[in-house]
Subunit: 337 residues, 2 copies
């Protein structure tokens, strides 16, 4: 997530810097910038360039500033507001599909504040279909279908869930739901989940489509399968997703014969995508970190973030930045659609 | 205050009805309606016809709905949002000039919830110049001047306060402030308060203009001065304003010789405005209550609310509805500008 923190007063700026420092330790936060003063200009810039905006100022100012910028719940960034004393963190906009509620709880914990979340499903401790999509990196094309499903979930209406992946565990989250396993798709192919329910003789159906989720891997020579698996496990833990959610693993052509990487992919039953070094050489993205050491040696910005980003295609985004663990680097990206 | 409560879900509707029932017991609440479902249509109607909107639904819905309706902080209604469980009451818009923060604290108390208020002055337990204006029924013409004053108040910059009324008590609210009493205006004439401060060789000045505030009085024959004074005291208490804030007292021509009313005005040093019964007969306002008894006897809707409203002029509004105390009725109205 790319996060902009906006402040106006000096105490707000201090709080902004405190949050920034803490957020930057989280590998899921790809970028975090503090913008002080010039709220109108900065809000417009942040609205169009960040996934999450934390505005530390009076809610009224924020509502007035974002009013002309708002588009729709599947496009707008998550917006949180915090008073300058940090008493409350309010999830203002895009709480579900934009991940605002999740960010709200997280920030409140970081600064010992209280999260104020108002969506019906959350205040009733239910799992909204759009929260599920956000947390697991699925997209919903017809966002108008979300509301009847979340209403049905609130009313404990039985849901029929089906997918080509084994997602039986989802039945835990939805009362009286059943799961049907559909035939497997081919390795690396994107999966869907379908939810259905009937009410008053009408049938409702909604599809959640996987975004392509790729783990990019770099490795020093001779790293073992276990070294690779431990690093992968770390990012899955951070992202709170199971290995089944991963669509493929990508590395660079000069590492295509690394036994550790190959064996890890075999063990995990994941497709290994080999990205040609020339493609990596031509790939530059402002969200990806650059290593002088790697650049001087191979003429490329880096390996794991770049391979993951190339694999997911244009407009994809990093959801876990590079971490290095005992000679292995890993990062995760998802496709835009 | 005229309040609209909007709900979408059934639990929200229950909470809306609970709040409505409690609010209607407050004589400062002139009107309170619950609107269920059809949020877009109802929000637009409420935005243009009520002083306060309490929306019991996800904050994201509300922000999206009000975005195209927002005008400016001196025109928009106060907007509060509450989750359907009533965990938090958030002051979303027009917290100061629109009275949102005050309403927020009040509603939170009514339903045992927590008020979420984010304006800098309030979170620092300071009194914003616009809160002062709202609570005491002053208007500020140049709203852009508010911000530097509230910043100065936060920074404990000394303020010079002056007024033709004795408002020395204001110095309690603003650190290091001084008060200068200017010559009295004529009886019933509207007063102003001026605030000044200097910073970095620049002088700042802002004026707060009294709206005309009138107590309308009706009385059975022979009611004593004390009966009248007790009723007036009750409304001043409810409105949390001193008698000095009252610009005049109004009654109907058929009561112009009531000793109790005349003596009370003399004791309080207030101008008594006599409204001709024909004018009252032609006055009808949807916010004013109608008494069948009075209508059958005098051909008028009522006395105290009508006299107060006529006295403050077109577009004025009731700020305290009729209460009856031992044969005396009182109500309070303020002018629009």
């Amino acid at each position: 997530m790319k996060i902009a923190i906006l402040s106006v007063t000096e105490p707000a700026k201090d709080l902004a810097l405190e949050i920034q420092e803490k957020l930057l330790k989280n590998p899921r936060i790809i970028k975090c910038n503090v913008f002080h003063k010039n709220v109108r200009k900065n809000m417009e810039f942040a609205f169009n360039n960040y996934d999450g905006i934390i505005a530390i100022m009076a809610t009224g100012i924020i509502v007035r500033m974002i009013a002309p910028l708002i588009q729709s719940k599947d496009k707008d960034p998550a917006i949180l507001t915090i008073d300058e004393k940090g008493n409350y963190v309010v999830s203002l906009l895009s709480g579900h599909l934009g991940g605002g509620n999740q960010l709200c709880s997280y920030i409140a914990k970081l600064i010992n504040s209280k999260p104020v979340i108002s969506t019906s499903t959350d205040v009733n401790f239910k799992y909204g279909i759009d929260s599920l999509a956000y947390k697991n990196f699925y997209k919903i094309i017809d966002v108008k279908k979300i509301l009847p499903f979340n209403k049905a979930i609130l009313d404990n209406v039985p849901l029929q869930i089906s997918s080509d992946k084994d997602l039986k565990f989802l039945t835990k989250y939805f009362s009286n739901s059943t799961f049907t396993k559909l035939p497997d798709k081919r390795l690396g192919e994107l999966s869907t989940i379908n939810f259905k329910f009937s009410k008053d003789d009408e049938e409702y159906s909604i599809d959640l489509y996987e975004k392509k989720l790729v783990i990019g891997i770099g490795s020093r020579r001779g790293k073992t399968k276990n070294n690779i698996l431990i690093a992968i496990d770390e990012v899955l833990n951070n992202l709170k997703i199971p290995i089944s959610r991963v669509n493929s693993i990508a590395t660079i052509s000069i590492k295509k014969d690394e036994h550790g990487i190959i064996q890890a992919c075999t063990e995990l039953n994941k497709k290994l995508e080999i990205i040609d070094i020339d493609e990596v050489r031509n790939f530059h993205h402002e969200d990806c970190s650059k290593s002088d050491f790697v650049y001087n040696k191979f003429g490329i910005d880096g390996v794991c973030e770049q391979c993951a980003m190339i694999s997911v295609g244009p407009n994809g985004k990093l959801i876990h930045k590079k971490i290095a663990m005992d000679g292995v680097t890993v990062a995760v990206a998802i496709s835009n659609d």
